[in-house]
Symmetry: C2
Subunit: 107 residues, 2 copies
Amino acid sequence: MAYATTLTVLADPTRREVFERLRAGPRAVNAIAQGMPVSRPAVSQHLKVLKDAGLVEERSEGVRRIYSVRREGLAELRDWLESFWGEALDAFKLEAERSYRTKQRSK
Amino acid sequence: MAYATTLTVLADPTRREVFERLRAGPRAVNAIAQGMPVSRPAVSQHLKVLKDAGLVEERSEGVRRIYSVRREGLAELRDWLESFWGEALDAFKLEAERSYRTKQRSK
DNA sequence: CATCCCCGTAAGTCATGGCTTACCGTTAGC
DNA sequence: GCTAACGGTAAGCCATGACTTACGGGGATG
């Protein structure tokens, strides 16, 4: 269920860039917005979305908010993807088998 | 680069539903659209997007087009996700270490 | 050849969501 | 206490993209 959220959240390029910047380590909002093609409020909004999705966590340090990556937030999506290896292939083979036999029979 | 495409393509719920339906095995367009909350042309459009993204492949069987999952299409996204395990943690630790030392020094 | 399904494509509508500017609360420094 | 930096939130604008209906082409079947 939540892998859906992760997908939609990471689909946006700007938001993904924000996320990637945090990958190198925790950063304050200003630092993240630095050199980005969008305004700082935009970055704030993206961070909120990332946080709500559990992909990022926030900690206050004086007047600044330090954001960092929450790797566990990616777990569900990873598992979902992983579930395609193996299973999907087997299903395919079975289906191919079935439709092949069906055709043979109807000849 | 291509994992970005995969993300945006799989972000849409309807399109994901189409993709998931193919998971059980190859299907014709009609069969996929069957019981879906959107029209058949909508499904066709989603299939085109999925195909362009390399997530799905198409084969003609008489008058019908049979679509099936291309697991390799998910590989890049999986690798990208996988790259967060380990690396991200190390970067975090390093960063935490660094900022800790910096603070200690400035006391 | 006529007809009926299959399905892809075109054109047009409408909602979603990402961006900007403007504003406000909060913390630190003088 | 004043001022300045940090950053979250509101309101409004606008583009993107997901739908719909309408159509047309191609393969099967009588």
